[in-house]
Amino acid sequence: MLLEYIAIAVMIAVATLIAFIAIGLGELLGPKKKSEAKSMPYESGMNPYGEGTRRMPVRFYLVAVLFILFDIEVVFFLPWAIVFRQLGIFGLIEMIIFIVILLVGYVYAWKKGALEWE
Protein backbone atom coordinates (compact mmCIF):
# COMPACT_ATOMS: atom_id res chain seq x y z
CA MET A 1 0.00 0.00 0.00
CA LEU A 2 2.78 2.35 0.92
CA LEU A 3 4.36 1.75 -2.52
CA GLU A 4 1.47 3.60 -4.15
CA TYR A 5 2.81 6.78 -2.61
CA ILE A 6 6.25 6.41 -4.17
CA ALA A 7 5.28 8.71 -7.04
CA ILE A 8 4.51 11.48 -4.56
CA ALA A 9 7.82 10.91 -2.80
CA VAL A 10 9.67 11.15 -6.12
CA MET A 11 7.82 14.36 -6.97
CA ILE A 12 8.70 15.92 -3.60
CA ALA A 13 12.35 14.96 -4.11
CA VAL A 14 12.48 16.38 -7.64
CA ALA A 15 10.72 19.58 -6.61
CA THR A 16 13.15 20.09 -3.73
CA LEU A 17 16.10 19.42 -6.03
CA ILE A 18 14.90 21.92 -8.63
CA ALA A 19 14.38 24.58 -5.96
CA PHE A 20 17.92 24.05 -4.65
CA ILE A 21 19.38 24.14 -8.15
CA ALA A 22 17.53 27.33 -9.06
CA ILE A 23 18.56 29.20 -5.92
CA GLY A 24 22.09 27.76 -6.04
CA LEU A 25 22.62 28.80 -9.66
CA GLY A 26 21.27 32.25 -8.98
CA GLU A 27 23.60 32.64 -6.05
CA LEU A 28 26.60 31.40 -8.06
CA LEU A 29 26.10 33.17 -11.38
CA GLY A 30 24.03 36.26 -10.58
CA PRO A 31 25.64 39.70 -10.16
CA LYS A 32 25.59 41.07 -6.61
CA LYS A 33 25.17 44.84 -6.26
CA LYS A 34 24.00 45.80 -2.79
CA SER A 35 22.07 49.02 -2.30
CA GLU A 36 19.89 50.41 0.47
CA ALA A 37 16.69 50.11 -1.53
CA LYS A 38 17.27 46.43 -2.17
CA SER A 39 17.52 45.51 1.50
CA MET A 40 14.11 46.94 2.32
CA PRO A 41 11.19 44.55 2.90
CA TYR A 42 9.29 46.05 -0.05
CA GLU A 43 11.59 47.23 -2.80
CA SER A 44 8.90 49.15 -4.62
CA GLY A 45 6.37 50.19 -2.03
CA MET A 46 5.82 52.47 0.90
CA ASN A 47 8.78 53.05 3.16
CA PRO A 48 8.21 51.08 6.34
CA TYR A 49 8.28 52.95 9.64
CA GLY A 50 8.28 51.87 13.27
CA GLU A 51 8.26 48.38 14.68
CA GLY A 52 6.45 45.54 12.96
CA THR A 53 4.89 44.37 16.21
CA ARG A 54 3.38 47.62 17.47
CA ARG A 55 -0.04 47.80 19.09
CA MET A 56 -3.12 47.85 16.91
CA PRO A 57 -6.46 49.43 17.76
CA VAL A 58 -8.79 46.68 18.96
CA ARG A 59 -11.41 47.88 16.45
CA PHE A 60 -9.60 46.06 13.66
CA TYR A 61 -10.14 42.87 15.59
CA LEU A 62 -13.85 43.57 15.87
CA VAL A 63 -14.11 44.21 12.14
CA ALA A 64 -12.24 40.97 11.46
CA VAL A 65 -14.64 38.99 13.65
CA LEU A 66 -17.67 40.53 11.95
CA PHE A 67 -16.09 39.83 8.58
CA ILE A 68 -15.67 36.15 9.45
CA LEU A 69 -19.32 35.98 10.51
CA PHE A 70 -20.63 37.14 7.13
CA ASP A 71 -17.88 35.49 5.15
CA ILE A 72 -18.92 32.10 6.51
CA GLU A 73 -22.53 32.95 5.74
CA VAL A 74 -21.68 33.45 2.07
CA VAL A 75 -19.58 30.27 1.99
CA PHE A 76 -22.63 28.35 3.19
CA PHE A 77 -24.88 30.07 0.65
CA LEU A 78 -22.91 28.87 -2.37
CA PRO A 79 -23.37 25.08 -2.13
CA TRP A 80 -26.91 25.65 -0.96
CA ALA A 81 -27.72 27.74 -4.02
CA ILE A 82 -26.39 25.02 -6.34
CA VAL A 83 -28.69 22.31 -4.95
CA PHE A 84 -31.53 24.68 -4.14
CA ARG A 85 -34.02 23.01 -6.54
CA GLN A 86 -33.35 19.52 -5.19
CA LEU A 87 -33.74 20.60 -1.55
CA GLY A 88 -37.03 22.36 -2.23
CA ILE A 89 -39.00 24.01 0.54
CA PHE A 90 -37.04 22.08 3.20
CA GLY A 91 -33.78 23.71 2.15
CA LEU A 92 -35.41 27.13 2.12
CA ILE A 93 -36.64 26.78 5.70
CA GLU A 94 -33.27 25.45 6.86
CA MET A 95 -31.51 28.43 5.30
CA ILE A 96 -34.00 30.87 6.82
CA ILE A 97 -33.27 29.40 10.28
CA PHE A 98 -29.55 29.74 9.60
CA ILE A 99 -29.92 33.37 8.53
CA VAL A 100 -32.14 34.21 11.50
CA ILE A 101 -29.48 32.87 13.89
CA LEU A 102 -26.84 35.02 12.17
CA LEU A 103 -29.25 37.93 12.17
CA VAL A 104 -29.51 37.71 15.97
CA GLY A 105 -25.76 38.17 16.15
CA TYR A 106 -25.94 41.01 13.63
CA VAL A 107 -28.64 42.89 15.55
CA TYR A 108 -26.67 42.39 18.76
CA ALA A 109 -23.48 43.75 17.21
CA TRP A 110 -25.37 46.65 15.69
CA LYS A 111 -27.13 47.69 18.89
CA LYS A 112 -23.88 47.38 20.85
CA GLY A 113 -22.28 49.86 18.45
CA ALA A 114 -19.76 47.45 16.96
CA LEU A 115 -20.41 48.84 13.48
CA GLU A 116 -19.46 52.42 14.40
CA TRP A 117 -15.84 53.31 13.94
CA GLU A 118 -15.71 56.18 16.43
Binding site: F90, V104, V107, Y108
Partner: protein
Protein backbone atom coordinates in the same frame (compact mmCIF):
# COMPACT_ATOMS: atom_id res chain seq x y z
CA UNK B 1 -36.35 15.94 9.20
CA UNK B 2 -39.10 14.01 10.89
CA UNK B 3 -41.04 14.75 14.01
CA UNK B 4 -38.98 12.15 15.84
CA UNK B 5 -35.78 14.00 14.99
CA UNK B 6 -37.29 17.16 16.36
CA UNK B 7 -38.37 15.48 19.59
CA UNK B 8 -34.88 14.12 20.16
CA UNK B 9 -33.48 17.62 20.48
CA UNK B 10 -36.59 19.41 21.74
CA UNK B 11 -35.16 20.70 25.08
CA UNK B 12 -31.98 21.75 23.31
CA UNK B 13 -33.92 23.61 20.63
CA UNK B 14 -36.03 25.42 23.21
CA UNK B 15 -32.96 26.56 25.12
CA UNK B 16 -31.16 27.68 21.95
CA UNK B 17 -34.11 29.78 20.82
CA UNK B 18 -34.50 31.16 24.33
CA UNK B 19 -30.83 32.15 24.49
CA UNK B 20 -31.02 33.87 21.08
CA UNK B 21 -34.15 35.79 22.04
CA UNK B 22 -32.64 36.69 25.41
CA UNK B 23 -29.60 38.14 23.65
CA UNK B 24 -31.88 40.57 21.81
CA UNK B 25 -34.23 41.23 24.73
CA UNK B 26 -31.28 42.05 26.95
CA UNK B 27 -30.38 44.98 24.66
CA UNK B 28 -33.57 46.71 25.76
CA UNK B 29 -33.17 46.09 29.50
CA UNK B 30 -31.69 49.13 31.25
CA UNK B 31 -28.12 48.80 32.51
CA UNK B 32 -28.93 48.85 36.22
CA UNK B 33 -31.68 46.24 35.98
CA UNK B 34 -29.82 43.29 34.53
CA UNK B 35 -31.32 41.14 37.29
CA UNK B 36 -34.28 40.76 34.92
CA UNK B 37 -32.01 39.00 32.42
CA UNK B 38 -30.90 36.61 35.15
CA UNK B 39 -34.50 35.77 36.03
CA UNK B 40 -35.39 35.27 32.35
CA UNK B 41 -32.37 33.02 31.83
CA UNK B 42 -33.29 30.96 34.89
CA UNK B 43 -36.85 30.72 33.59
CA UNK B 44 -35.52 29.37 30.30
CA UNK B 45 -33.49 26.74 32.11
CA UNK B 46 -36.50 25.76 34.22
CA UNK B 47 -38.73 25.38 31.15
CA UNK B 48 -36.04 23.29 29.44
CA UNK B 49 -35.68 21.20 32.58
CA UNK B 50 -39.38 20.41 32.60
CA UNK B 51 -39.23 19.32 28.95
CA UNK B 52 -36.17 17.20 29.74
CA UNK B 53 -38.04 15.50 32.56
CA UNK B 54 -40.92 14.80 30.16
CA UNK B 55 -38.41 12.91 28.00
CA UNK B 56 -37.69 10.33 30.70
CA UNK B 57 -38.20 6.85 29.29
CA UNK B 58 -37.82 7.89 25.66
CA UNK B 59 -35.07 6.26 23.67
CA UNK B 60 -34.32 6.96 20.05
CA UNK B 61 -31.73 8.39 17.74
CA UNK B 62 -32.29 11.32 15.47
CA UNK B 63 -30.87 13.34 12.60
CA UNK B 64 -29.49 10.27 10.77
CA UNK B 65 -27.89 8.93 13.93
CA UNK B 66 -25.98 12.13 14.72
CA UNK B 67 -27.63 12.52 18.12
CA UNK B 68 -29.28 10.11 20.52
CA UNK B 69 -31.79 10.39 23.29
CA UNK B 70 -31.50 7.76 26.02
CA UNK B 71 -31.70 7.41 29.77
CA UNK B 72 -28.09 8.48 30.09
CA UNK B 73 -28.49 11.71 28.12
CA UNK B 74 -31.71 12.61 29.95
CA UNK B 75 -30.06 12.10 33.35
CA UNK B 76 -26.98 14.11 32.39
CA UNK B 77 -29.04 16.86 30.75
CA UNK B 78 -31.16 17.26 33.88
CA UNK B 79 -27.99 17.50 35.98
CA UNK B 80 -26.49 20.09 33.60
CA UNK B 81 -29.67 22.19 33.72
CA UNK B 82 -29.66 22.08 37.53
CA UNK B 83 -26.03 23.23 37.46
CA UNK B 84 -27.03 26.09 35.18
CA UNK B 85 -29.76 27.14 37.61
CA UNK B 86 -27.38 26.94 40.57
CA UNK B 87 -24.79 28.86 38.56
CA UNK B 88 -27.25 31.69 37.92
CA UNK B 89 -28.33 31.70 41.57
CA UNK B 90 -24.72 32.09 42.71
CA UNK B 91 -24.00 34.79 40.14
CA UNK B 92 -27.14 36.84 40.78
CA UNK B 93 -25.86 38.91 43.67
CA UNK B 94 -22.16 38.33 43.10
CA UNK B 95 -21.85 40.01 39.70
CA UNK B 96 -23.73 43.06 40.97
CA UNK B 97 -21.53 43.36 44.04
CA UNK B 98 -18.34 42.98 41.99
CA UNK B 99 -19.50 45.45 39.34
CA UNK B 100 -19.59 42.82 36.62
CA UNK B 101 -23.29 42.96 35.97
CA UNK B 102 -23.84 42.69 32.24
CA UNK B 103 -26.61 40.79 30.50
CA UNK B 104 -24.17 38.81 28.37
CA UNK B 105 -23.16 36.83 31.46
CA UNK B 106 -26.44 34.97 31.49
CA UNK B 107 -26.72 34.58 27.72
CA UNK B 108 -23.22 33.10 27.54
CA UNK B 109 -24.10 30.76 30.38
CA UNK B 110 -27.17 29.56 28.47
CA UNK B 111 -25.15 28.95 25.30
CA UNK B 112 -22.61 26.99 27.30
CA UNK B 113 -25.40 24.88 28.80
CA UNK B 114 -26.68 24.18 25.26
CA UNK B 115 -23.22 22.92 24.32
CA UNK B 116 -23.04 20.71 27.39
CA UNK B 117 -26.44 19.18 26.65
CA UNK B 118 -25.50 18.52 23.04
CA UNK B 119 -22.34 16.83 24.31
CA UNK B 120 -24.42 14.40 26.37
CA UNK B 121 -26.54 13.55 23.32
CA UNK B 122 -23.82 13.38 20.69
CA UNK B 123 -23.56 10.08 18.83
CA UNK B 124 -21.04 11.21 16.25
CA UNK B 125 -17.52 12.48 16.79
CA UNK B 126 -18.27 15.56 14.65
CA UNK B 127 -21.20 16.47 16.92
CA UNK B 128 -18.94 15.87 19.93
CA UNK B 129 -16.55 18.43 18.44
CA UNK B 130 -19.26 21.01 17.76
CA UNK B 131 -20.66 20.55 21.27
CA UNK B 132 -17.18 20.89 22.74
CA UNK B 133 -16.68 24.22 20.97
CA UNK B 134 -20.15 25.45 21.88
CA UNK B 135 -19.60 24.72 25.56
CA UNK B 136 -16.01 25.97 25.69
CA UNK B 137 -16.13 29.30 23.84
CA UNK B 138 -18.70 30.92 26.18
CA UNK B 139 -16.65 29.62 29.13
CA UNK B 140 -13.49 31.29 27.77
CA UNK B 141 -15.38 34.59 27.61
CA UNK B 142 -16.92 34.08 31.05
CA UNK B 143 -13.50 33.34 32.58
CA UNK B 144 -12.31 36.75 31.35
CA UNK B 145 -15.56 38.44 32.32
CA UNK B 146 -13.99 40.69 34.95
CA UNK B 147 -12.35 42.79 32.25
CA UNK B 148 -10.60 45.26 34.53
CA UNK B 149 -8.82 42.61 36.57
CA UNK B 150 -5.54 41.32 35.17
CA UNK B 151 -6.04 37.91 36.83
CA UNK B 152 -9.35 37.39 35.11
CA UNK B 153 -7.87 38.35 31.74
CA UNK B 154 -4.99 35.96 32.34
CA UNK B 155 -7.47 33.22 33.25
CA UNK B 156 -9.44 33.82 30.06
CA UNK B 157 -6.39 33.78 27.78
CA UNK B 158 -4.87 30.78 29.50
CA UNK B 159 -8.10 28.83 29.35
CA UNK B 160 -8.61 29.82 25.72
CA UNK B 161 -5.13 28.83 24.53
CA UNK B 162 -4.99 25.52 26.38
CA UNK B 163 -8.63 24.79 25.59
CA UNK B 164 -8.08 25.41 21.89
CA UNK B 165 -5.03 23.15 22.07
CA UNK B 166 -7.12 20.43 23.73
CA UNK B 167 -9.84 20.78 21.10
CA UNK B 168 -7.10 20.31 18.52
CA UNK B 169 -6.24 16.98 20.12
CA UNK B 170 -9.86 15.88 19.90
CA UNK B 171 -10.07 16.84 16.22
CA UNK B 172 -6.79 15.10 15.43
CA UNK B 173 -7.97 11.99 17.25
CA UNK B 174 -11.26 12.12 15.36
CA UNK B 175 -9.37 12.36 12.06
CA UNK B 176 -7.25 9.31 12.92
CA UNK B 177 -10.32 7.34 14.00
CA UNK B 178 -11.95 8.30 10.72
CA UNK B 179 -8.84 7.17 8.90
CA UNK B 180 -8.91 3.81 10.66
CA UNK B 181 -12.63 3.09 10.37
CA UNK B 182 -13.93 5.28 7.56
CA UNK B 183 -16.67 6.79 9.71
CA UNK B 184 -17.15 9.24 12.55
CA UNK B 185 -20.41 7.82 13.88
CA UNK B 186 -20.04 5.89 17.12
CA UNK B 187 -22.16 3.03 15.78
CA UNK B 188 -20.06 2.82 12.64
CA UNK B 189 -16.81 2.85 14.60
CA UNK B 190 -17.86 0.00 16.86
CA UNK B 191 -19.09 -1.97 13.82
CA UNK B 192 -15.85 -1.47 11.96
CA UNK B 193 -13.71 -2.21 15.00
CA UNK B 194 -15.50 -5.48 15.78
CA UNK B 195 -14.76 -6.74 12.25
CA UNK B 196 -11.28 -7.40 13.49
CA UNK B 197 -9.82 -4.40 11.69
CA UNK B 198 -8.80 -2.85 15.00
CA UNK B 199 -5.56 -1.10 14.19
CA UNK B 200 -2.85 0.95 15.79
CA UNK B 201 -4.34 4.00 14.09
CA UNK B 202 -7.62 3.52 15.94
CA UNK B 203 -5.84 3.15 19.28
CA UNK B 204 -3.82 6.32 18.70
CA UNK B 205 -6.97 8.17 17.67
CA UNK B 206 -8.81 7.06 20.80
CA UNK B 207 -5.81 8.04 22.94
CA UNK B 208 -5.71 11.53 21.39
CA UNK B 209 -9.42 11.99 22.09
CA UNK B 210 -8.71 10.92 25.66
CA UNK B 211 -5.99 13.57 25.93
CA UNK B 212 -8.37 16.26 24.68
CA UNK B 213 -11.01 15.36 27.21
CA UNK B 214 -8.37 14.98 29.90
CA UNK B 215 -7.71 18.71 29.45
CA UNK B 216 -11.40 19.53 29.71
CA UNK B 217 -12.04 17.57 32.90
CA UNK B 218 -8.67 18.64 34.40
CA UNK B 219 -7.05 15.23 34.80
CA UNK B 220 -3.35 15.04 35.61
CA UNK B 221 -1.07 15.51 33.60
CA UNK B 222 -3.35 17.86 31.63
CA UNK B 223 -4.35 19.93 34.65
CA UNK B 224 -1.81 22.79 34.57
CA UNK B 225 -4.36 25.43 33.59
CA UNK B 226 -6.85 24.58 36.33
CA UNK B 227 -5.51 26.41 39.42
CA UNK B 228 -4.74 29.63 37.56
CA UNK B 229 -8.02 29.70 35.66
CA UNK B 230 -10.14 28.77 38.67
CA UNK B 231 -8.39 31.40 40.78
CA UNK B 232 -8.47 34.19 38.18
CA UNK B 233 -12.02 33.76 36.89
CA UNK B 234 -14.88 35.42 38.78
CA UNK B 235 -15.88 32.97 41.54
CA UNK B 236 -19.40 32.43 40.24
CA UNK B 237 -17.94 31.47 36.85
CA UNK B 238 -15.47 29.11 38.51
CA UNK B 239 -18.30 27.31 40.29
CA UNK B 240 -20.23 26.82 37.06
CA UNK B 241 -17.11 25.88 35.10
CA UNK B 242 -15.98 23.32 37.67
CA UNK B 243 -19.37 21.60 37.67
CA UNK B 244 -20.67 22.01 34.13
CA UNK B 245 -17.50 21.36 32.14
CA UNK B 246 -16.80 18.27 34.24
CA UNK B 247 -20.27 16.79 33.76
CA UNK B 248 -20.19 17.34 30.01
CA UNK B 249 -16.61 16.14 29.63
CA UNK B 250 -17.23 12.95 31.55
CA UNK B 251 -20.54 12.35 29.79
CA UNK B 252 -18.85 12.55 26.40
CA UNK B 253 -15.93 10.40 27.58
CA UNK B 254 -18.32 7.75 28.89
CA UNK B 255 -20.38 7.67 25.74
CA UNK B 256 -17.47 7.70 23.31
CA UNK B 257 -15.39 5.11 25.14
CA UNK B 258 -18.14 2.79 26.32
CA UNK B 259 -20.00 2.70 23.01
CA UNK B 260 -17.35 3.24 20.34
CA UNK B 261 -14.13 1.78 21.71
CA UNK B 262 -15.05 -1.31 23.78
CA UNK B 263 -12.59 -3.36 21.72
CA UNK B 264 -9.74 -1.11 22.80
CA UNK B 265 -10.37 -1.78 26.50
CA UNK B 266 -7.28 -3.98 26.83
CA UNK B 267 -5.03 -1.13 25.69
CA UNK B 268 -6.81 1.76 27.35
CA UNK B 269 -7.69 0.31 30.75
CA UNK B 270 -4.11 0.57 32.00
CA UNK B 271 -3.85 4.14 30.75
CA UNK B 272 -7.10 5.09 32.47
CA UNK B 273 -5.95 3.34 35.65
CA UNK B 274 -2.74 5.36 35.68
CA UNK B 275 -4.51 8.63 34.82
CA UNK B 276 -6.99 8.13 37.63
CA UNK B 277 -4.33 7.20 40.20
CA UNK B 278 -1.98 10.07 39.30
CA UNK B 279 -4.84 12.58 39.26
CA UNK B 280 -6.02 11.55 42.73
CA UNK B 281 -2.53 11.58 44.21
CA UNK B 282 -1.28 14.83 42.70
CA UNK B 283 -4.53 16.75 43.19
CA UNK B 284 -4.78 15.86 46.86
CA UNK B 285 -1.11 16.23 47.73
CA UNK B 286 -0.63 19.62 46.07
CA UNK B 287 -3.85 20.93 47.64
CA UNK B 288 -2.24 20.56 51.08
CA UNK B 289 0.18 23.44 50.50
CA UNK B 290 -2.46 25.90 49.24
CA UNK B 291 -3.39 28.89 51.39
CA UNK B 292 -5.83 30.46 48.94
CA UNK B 293 -9.26 28.85 49.15
CA UNK B 294 -9.92 29.18 45.41
CA UNK B 295 -6.64 27.44 44.57
CA UNK B 296 -7.31 24.79 47.19
CA UNK B 297 -10.75 24.06 45.71
CA UNK B 298 -9.19 24.01 42.23
CA UNK B 299 -6.79 21.26 43.27
CA UNK B 300 -9.67 19.54 45.03
CA UNK B 301 -11.54 19.65 41.73
CA UNK B 302 -8.56 17.99 40.02
CA UNK B 303 -8.55 15.29 42.69
CA UNK B 304 -12.26 14.67 42.16
CA UNK B 305 -11.72 14.30 38.43
CA UNK B 306 -9.45 11.42 39.44
CA UNK B 307 -12.16 9.83 41.54
CA UNK B 308 -14.70 10.06 38.73
CA UNK B 309 -12.14 8.65 36.29
CA UNK B 310 -12.16 5.51 38.47
CA UNK B 311 -15.59 4.75 37.05
CA UNK B 312 -14.04 4.43 33.58
CA UNK B 313 -11.39 1.90 34.44
CA UNK B 314 -13.62 -1.22 34.26
CA UNK B 315 -15.39 0.03 31.11
CA UNK B 316 -14.38 -2.95 29.00
CA UNK B 317 -16.08 -5.38 31.39
CA UNK B 318 -19.66 -5.84 30.24
CA UNK B 319 -20.93 -7.03 33.65
CA UNK B 320 -19.36 -4.29 35.72
CA UNK B 321 -19.86 -1.41 33.28
CA UNK B 322 -23.51 -0.64 34.16
CA UNK B 323 -22.84 -0.27 37.89
CA UNK B 324 -19.62 1.61 37.32
CA UNK B 325 -21.39 4.09 35.02
CA UNK B 326 -24.15 4.46 37.61
CA UNK B 327 -21.53 5.02 40.30
CA UNK B 328 -19.81 7.64 38.14
CA UNK B 329 -23.09 9.47 37.54
CA UNK B 330 -23.96 9.32 41.23
CA UNK B 331 -20.57 10.76 42.11
CA UNK B 332 -21.09 13.55 39.57
CA UNK B 333 -24.39 14.46 41.26
CA UNK B 334 -22.79 14.51 44.68
CA UNK B 335 -19.86 16.56 43.33
CA UNK B 336 -22.15 19.11 41.65
CA UNK B 337 -24.13 19.89 44.81
CA UNK B 338 -21.11 19.92 47.10
CA UNK B 339 -19.14 22.01 44.64
CA UNK B 340 -21.80 24.70 44.23
CA UNK B 341 -22.29 24.85 47.98
CA UNK B 342 -18.59 25.24 48.75
CA UNK B 343 -18.14 27.93 46.10
CA UNK B 344 -21.27 29.63 47.47
CA UNK B 345 -19.61 29.99 50.87
CA UNK B 346 -16.46 31.30 49.16
CA UNK B 347 -18.58 33.91 47.36
CA UNK B 348 -20.22 34.93 50.65
CA UNK B 349 -16.81 35.79 52.13
CA UNK B 350 -15.17 37.25 49.03
CA UNK B 351 -14.51 40.98 48.96
CA UNK B 352 -13.67 43.10 45.96
CA UNK B 353 -10.16 42.92 44.49
CA UNK B 354 -9.64 39.33 45.54
CA UNK B 355 -9.73 39.97 49.29
CA UNK B 356 -11.20 37.48 51.73
CA UNK B 357 -9.98 34.45 49.81
CA UNK B 358 -7.27 33.22 52.17
CA UNK B 359 -8.10 30.30 54.43
CA UNK B 360 -7.05 32.53 57.37
CA UNK B 361 -9.95 34.84 56.55
CA UNK B 362 -12.31 32.08 57.68
CA UNK B 363 -11.13 32.36 61.29
CA UNK B 364 -13.98 33.00 63.69
CA UNK B 365 -16.69 32.17 61.16
CA UNK B 366 -18.05 29.45 63.45
CA UNK B 367 -18.91 31.90 66.22
CA UNK B 368 -20.05 34.83 64.13
CA UNK B 369 -22.03 33.05 61.42
CA UNK B 370 -22.82 29.57 62.77
CA UNK B 371 -25.17 28.62 59.91
CA UNK B 372 -22.67 29.50 57.19
CA UNK B 373 -19.87 27.69 59.02
CA UNK B 374 -22.09 24.63 59.49
CA UNK B 375 -22.84 24.60 55.75
CA UNK B 376 -19.14 24.87 54.92
CA UNK B 377 -18.44 22.01 57.33
CA UNK B 378 -20.99 19.85 55.51
CA UNK B 379 -19.35 20.61 52.15
CA UNK B 380 -15.85 19.92 53.45
CA UNK B 381 -17.00 16.60 54.96
CA UNK B 382 -18.68 15.71 51.67
CA UNK B 383 -15.50 16.49 49.70
CA UNK B 384 -13.50 14.23 52.04
CA UNK B 385 -16.19 11.54 51.92
CA UNK B 386 -17.26 11.43 55.55
CA UNK B 387 -20.78 10.81 56.88
CA UNK B 388 -23.45 12.13 56.83
CA UNK B 389 -22.92 13.48 53.34
CA UNK B 390 -23.36 12.57 49.68
CA UNK B 391 -19.59 12.42 49.23
CA UNK B 392 -19.40 9.31 51.39
CA UNK B 393 -22.16 7.50 49.51
CA UNK B 394 -20.68 8.49 46.16
CA UNK B 395 -17.24 7.24 47.10
CA UNK B 396 -18.75 4.03 48.50
CA UNK B 397 -20.49 3.23 45.21
CA UNK B 398 -17.38 4.14 43.22
CA UNK B 399 -15.01 2.00 45.26
CA UNK B 400 -17.50 -0.87 45.20
CA UNK B 401 -17.72 -0.77 41.40
CA UNK B 402 -13.94 -0.58 41.02
CA UNK B 403 -13.34 -3.48 43.42
CA UNK B 404 -16.02 -5.54 41.67
CA UNK B 405 -14.10 -4.90 38.46
CA UNK B 406 -10.98 -6.34 40.08
CA UNK B 407 -9.01 -3.13 40.55
CA UNK B 408 -8.52 -3.29 44.31
CA UNK B 409 -5.23 -1.41 44.06
CA UNK B 410 -6.95 1.62 42.58
CA UNK B 411 -9.59 1.56 45.31
CA UNK B 412 -6.83 1.52 47.93
CA UNK B 413 -5.20 4.55 46.32
CA UNK B 414 -8.62 6.22 46.39
CA UNK B 415 -9.09 5.57 50.10
CA UNK B 416 -5.58 6.66 51.02
CA UNK B 417 -5.80 9.90 49.03
CA UNK B 418 -9.17 10.60 50.64
CA UNK B 419 -7.44 10.35 54.02
CA UNK B 420 -4.76 12.75 52.79
CA UNK B 421 -7.45 15.16 51.62
CA UNK B 422 -9.00 15.17 55.10
CA UNK B 423 -5.98 17.19 56.24
CA UNK B 424 -6.59 20.23 54.07
CA UNK B 425 -10.39 20.13 54.11
CA UNK B 426 -10.49 19.84 57.90
CA UNK B 427 -7.99 22.70 58.19
CA UNK B 428 -10.74 24.97 56.88
CA UNK B 429 -13.15 23.60 59.50
CA UNK B 430 -10.55 23.99 62.27
CA UNK B 431 -9.86 27.58 61.17
CA UNK B 432 -13.57 28.39 61.25
CA UNK B 433 -14.21 27.01 64.73
CA UNK B 434 -10.93 27.06 66.66
CA UNK B 435 -9.35 30.36 65.63
CA UNK B 436 -10.41 33.86 66.57
CA UNK B 437 -11.21 36.38 63.92
CA UNK B 438 -13.72 38.92 62.75
CA UNK B 439 -14.89 37.76 59.35
CA UNK B 440 -17.45 39.76 57.43
CA UNK B 441 -19.81 38.22 54.93
CA UNK B 442 -22.10 39.47 52.23
CA UNK B 443 -25.63 38.30 52.80
CA UNK B 444 -27.67 37.95 49.64
CA UNK B 445 -30.97 36.06 49.75
CA UNK B 446 -30.25 34.05 46.57
CA UNK B 447 -26.80 33.09 47.79
CA UNK B 448 -28.04 32.09 51.26
CA UNK B 449 -30.79 30.07 49.64
CA UNK B 450 -28.38 28.26 47.31
CA UNK B 451 -25.93 27.45 50.07
CA UNK B 452 -28.69 26.20 52.37
CA UNK B 453 -30.35 24.22 49.58
CA UNK B 454 -27.15 22.46 48.49
CA UNK B 455 -26.20 21.73 52.12
CA UNK B 456 -29.61 20.19 52.81
CA UNK B 457 -29.48 18.12 49.61
CA UNK B 458 -25.97 16.94 50.48
CA UNK B 459 -27.09 15.70 53.89
CA UNK B 460 -30.67 14.50 53.26
CA UNK B 461 -30.02 12.60 50.03
CA UNK B 462 -27.11 10.83 51.68
CA UNK B 463 -29.53 9.36 54.24
CA UNK B 464 -31.77 7.90 51.51
CA UNK B 465 -29.45 7.50 48.53
CA UNK B 466 -31.03 4.38 47.01
CA UNK B 467 -33.53 6.18 44.78
CA UNK B 468 -30.84 8.37 43.27
CA UNK B 469 -28.63 5.37 42.63
CA UNK B 470 -31.57 3.58 41.07
CA UNK B 471 -32.17 6.59 38.85
CA UNK B 472 -28.50 6.58 37.86
CA UNK B 473 -28.62 2.83 37.20
CA UNK B 474 -31.54 3.34 34.82
CA UNK B 475 -29.56 5.96 32.92
CA UNK B 476 -28.16 3.46 30.47
CA UNK B 477 -26.20 4.17 27.35
CA UNK B 478 -27.94 3.07 24.18
CA UNK B 479 -26.42 2.29 20.84
CA UNK B 480 -28.72 2.63 17.85
Amino acid sequence: MTQLDFQTLLPLTILTVWACVLLIVDLFIPKNRKGITAVLAALGLAVTLSFTILQIGRENSGYSGMVVLDGFSTFVNALILVSGLLGIALAYGYVKRMGLERGEYYTLLLFSVVGMMLMAQAADLIVVFIALELLSIPLYVLAAFSRTSAESEEAGIKYFLLGAFATGFVVYGTALVFGATGTTSLVGIVGSASNGTSSLLLTIGAALILVGFGFKVAAVPFHMWTPDVYQGAPTSVTAFMAAGAKIAGFAALLRVFATAFPTLATDLTDILWALSAVTMILGNVVAISQTNIKRMLAYSSIAHAGYILMAFVPYGNKDIMPISIAAGLFYLVSYVFTNFGAWGVVIALEKSEGKGLEIGDYAGLGRKYPALAAAMTVFMLSLIGLPPTLGLVGKFYLFRAVIAGGYTGLAIIGVVTSLVSAYYYLRVVVTMYMKDGEPTTEREPMLDFTTAFTAIVTVVVSLVPQWLFLLASNAVLKLF
